[in-house]
Symmetry: none
DNA sequence: TTTAATTTGTTCAAAAATAATCAAATTCAA
DNA sequence: TTGAATTTGATTATTTTTGAACAAATTAAA
């Protein structure tokens, strides 16, 4: 067995086990310990692992925040239906705002092969799209670890510099009386997104329709379309107000 | 059997096995080893396989390291020493710029318990500090996946809105003639950081001292201190220019 | 803290693979 | 067929890889 082959096997083992031990690797690959040590040193020089005493550890790349993943896993089928419909609205060349909602996040998987620009305040979105055809623009400002996103006045100013063809946003509630958010920060950035995009899409699963929580921050005029799996009567009011309703 | 025929068979075998061995191929195709070696070299020149000692591998089997991670694991002890010294300079209440260099990234682990604000264009820094006492501000702008960081005019403008007490930066080279970078984007953002911070620290392992690469983008006046493990004579020039040199 | 065990780097030698050189065999065109 | 060009194989010197031995450094234990 040559170095390249060993290298491959070592990395494979490291990937499954998380950490490895010189002695055991030497035994498994039937090479001497000194050889394995040399291999590990070389791999460490190439940045493929961390060398430890007696072995090596995997370099943990960017970690996906669990909290976010958990929330994102709720109501998956409905969200995916909504996102598929949303993705159909996006075409090559579009400049797209995406906010930090969990539904919007699921949109990522459907747009990886589109030649578009995405401007977002959500780190999970960045993480999801970083190795795709999508060109990314991160909105700057104060970072909130819980939301995994950027908010605040600097973020709003950042958005004001750009003009997008479409914005895909989430809200905490929407009714005939307008749009609702759980915090001022979220309300502000949603307003900023909507103001700077030609067309604004709200991605809402059924739980959001007709819901009025904490802070009313805008009217239905702000948005161009709602994409939802809901069949609520409330949707009729939206249509009356000139909001396009896409039922999935 | 002629070369074209052998070439075909070699590639076929490589495709099924993933890697091949000069001796065995020579035996199977009843040609001498030197002939097979020549074949392999030619195929490698054409980019059809990856030549190894004793054989060859399929191109797609060769592991390509991620650039950021790659650099992060190099010269770890020196970087940690430098970062420990750098962390000593940081005190509660500080506003700190951190750029996207691999040395600066290692500084994270030493400052997690400090009550400071960190303003950064580096996503790995954000990930590292997101569950710490540090309050984070992300610099907005166009995201570069390879560097895992934000650069560009928007980023520079973002920085201009803030004033930091300290900046911890990396460069690709520093000599008595000034500071050197590998790209204009990096040069610009480094300049922006330095301009907006009261004191600028350069974290440089020995490989950077005296090195003059690609683009000279600033003079020694821009920086207040260099923290390094180098013992180069070049450091004397830095002191003469009023740069504080911290040797670790 | 001191001591023992383990791990590591260094040096050297053996083994394997390779490149370089040249001669023999093969191919191809005239 | 002849002869030039190309391909192939053999030989030898060089390079690379590997492993062993031992001193230095690091870690764990007492």
């Amino acid at each position: 067995m040559n170095f390249q082959k060993r290298k491959q096997q070592i990395l494979e083992k490291l990937n499954t086990d998380g950490d490895i031990d010189v002695k055991q690797v030497a035994l498994e690959l039937s090479a001497s310990e000194i050889t394995i040590r040399r291999d590990l040193n070389q791999l460490a020089d190439d940045g493929l692992l961390y060398r430890t005493h007696g072995g090596a550890m995997r370099i943990d790349q960017v970690v996906i925040p669990h909290q976010f993943v958990n929330k994102a896993a709720q109501n998956v089928e409905a969200k995916d239906k909504i996102c598929r419909a949303a993705a159909n609205e996006i075409h090559d060349g579009d400049i797209v705002f995406m906010d930090c909602g969990s539904t919007v996040h699921r949109l990522c998987q459907f747009i990886k092969n589109k030649k578009i620009k995405v401007i977002t305040n959500s780190l999970p979105v960045v993480y999801e799209l970083q190795n795709s055809l999508v060109s990314l623009n991160i909105i700057g400002g104060e970072f909130n670890a819980e939301r995994q996103a950027v908010h605040g006045s600097m973020a709003n100013e950042h958005i004001s510099h750009y003009k997008a063809t479409r914005a895909f946003l989430g809200v905490d509630g929407i009714s005939r009386n307008g749009l609702f958010a759980n915090s001022e920060l979220e309300a502000d950035i949603t307003r900023a997104f909507a103001a700077q995009s030609k067309k604004t899409y709200l991605l809402c699963d059924e739980s959001k329709i007709g819901r009025e929580t904490y802070l009313r921050f805008g009217t239905l005029e702000m948005i161009g379309a709602v994409i939802t799996n809901s069949r609520s009567n409330e949707l009729e009011y939206f249509r009356k107000e000139g909001v396009k309703v896409v039922e999935v």
